[in-house]
Amino acid sequence: MASILSVKNLCCGYGSVEVLSDVSFDIEKGDYIGLAGPNGAGKTTLVKTVLGLSEKFKGIIKLFGQDLKSFDGWGRVGYLSQRVTAFNPLFPAAVKEVVGLGLLSQKEFPKRFDRTDDVKIMQSLDLMGISDLHKKPVSDLSGGQQQRVFLARALVSSPELLILDEPGTALDPQSREDFFEFIKKLNRDKGITVILITHDTAQIGQYANKLLYMDKKVVFYGSFSDFCRSAEMHQYFGHFSQHLICHQHE
């Protein structure tokens, strides 16, 4: 089976500082990957490089079997950024307008929206349970509601791969748990491949089927059961941490 995402010998950095060193892994269709690691491990850099946001890298990245440099199927990839509040709060954008931006990757010049797009936008808002907010300005919504709007934007193009960069940061514990549950449901019911960046290695064990643990390089990549059996990981994390992660996964 062809990989959804294949990364081979990826190296990149800022100036003379190396952030990622010889990173290689393959992600198969239907995987739910928990991408974890300490601060400065290169998790966000990895994701940004895979998304084409950083062009300075060495190695090979293939999305859906196509080299990243020539990849043009961005509608197959949904992305939820770490910084949901990065947009300008003065920007007078309605929820519907913002969600529609997720469809631009599938549009040909001059990129006009039609009735079919309206239906897709409303379906995506329905899926997130916020269709009643479609006319509201995004800046008038709470942090949790904004999070749902941006996830609706990421899902509106019916992506096969969903990349989420620390989506739980702006949410309270209950909303975070609901959110992770919802992503798990998308993965299970719709077969969407998920890469979720998190600091919380223990919690992600409840939802993901594989763990990609990084610290500038790949420390561990595999299933949680392999992780729990690994003597190398036992040594790396210590008994308590490894046990905690494995206990949550069970």
Binding site: A86, P92, A93, L101, S105
Partner: protein, 269 residues
């Protein structure tokens, strides 16, 4: 003089037509610039047009024919300074605009003949717009408007969230270049309406007025366009009857609309 007779003057008709088109451009581009925190690029490029107009006058050709390509080049240079030389945007604008003003002042000093002409561009005079300039303004305004219409969704996306726009395959650097190029053309046109010193007001004020009350981006565009066109038409009319400089009157009217909008917003909330 009755209003009917006043409208018979061809120079008033020309000012109304050209001024309205340029006001529409400034309102739309101003919204994108203000939201991208690039408001002062209009000011910087207006300063560049000072040097470019001086160059045109120095070599004895129509100033706008020198100003349009040179201001376009300057806008590109500002972008490249920001991207390649790791200079902050405001510092890049400062470098390019001060270079242009210095060049313009040296040319004015060397020529000793066109100082009056050059300084008339500082404060503009839409009432003195020629037929040729009206056609130039209309042609360029329509071209700029067409580009904005065709690239509307890309401009919207790149302004709302640049990183996400890139992920959807939008070439945001290209959009940025197009936006600054359109601004360069608009600034040169607006110099005739309000003058070099006040161009940024025409770009910023209608946009910030609209942003006080609009709930959607298209509504913000309509409000900004209405405020800009109303200011230009009212400014021209008031300046004619009260014998005031039209550029400054247009800007004062713009400030008045902004202040009233702000006051109404405060009262309502």
């Amino acid at each position: 003089m009755s209003l009917l007779h006043y409208l018979d003057y061809t120079f008033i008709q020309r000012a109304y037509i050209a001024g309205s088109f340029i006001a529409v451009l400034c309102a739309i581009l101003g919204l994108f610039l203000v939201l991208r925190k690039l408001s002062l690029i209009g000011d910087g490029l207006a300063h560049v047009s000072f040097g470019a107009i001086a160059l045109g006058l120095f070599f004895g050709f129509y100033p706008f024919y020198a100003a349009i390509p040179l201001v376009l080049v300057a806008s590109y240079f500002i972008l490249k300074l920001t991207e390649k030389a790791k200079v902050y945007g405001d510092a890049a604008i400062g470098i390019v605009s001060s270079l242009s003003i210095a060049g313009g002042v040296i040319l004015a000093s060397l020529s000793r003949g066109f100082n009056v002409d050059l300084f008339s561009y500082l404060f503009g005079n839409i009432l003195a717009i020629s037929e040729k300039e009206v056609y130039l303004s209309l042609g360029l305004s329509l071209a700029v408007l067409l580009v904005i219409i065709f690239l509307y969704n890309d401009l919207f996306s790149a302004t709302f969230d640049e990183e996400y726009a890139k992920v959807t395959g939008i070439k945001t650097e290209r959009i940025h270049l197009i936006l600054t190029s359109l601004t360069a053309i608009t600034v040169v046109l607006a110099v005739k309406v309000v003058g070099i010193m006040l161009v940024s007001a025409l770009l910023i004020l209608p946009a910030v007025t609209a942003l006080q009350i609009a709930k959607r981006f298209k509504a913000a565009m309509l409000i900004a366009i209405s405020a800009a066109v109303l200011s230009v038409l009212a400014g021209i009319t008031i300046s004619f009857f009260m014998d005031l400089p039209p550029g400054a009157t247009i800007v004062m009217f713009n400030v008045m609309i902004f202040t009233i909008t702000l006051a109404i917003k405060k009262m309502v909330s």
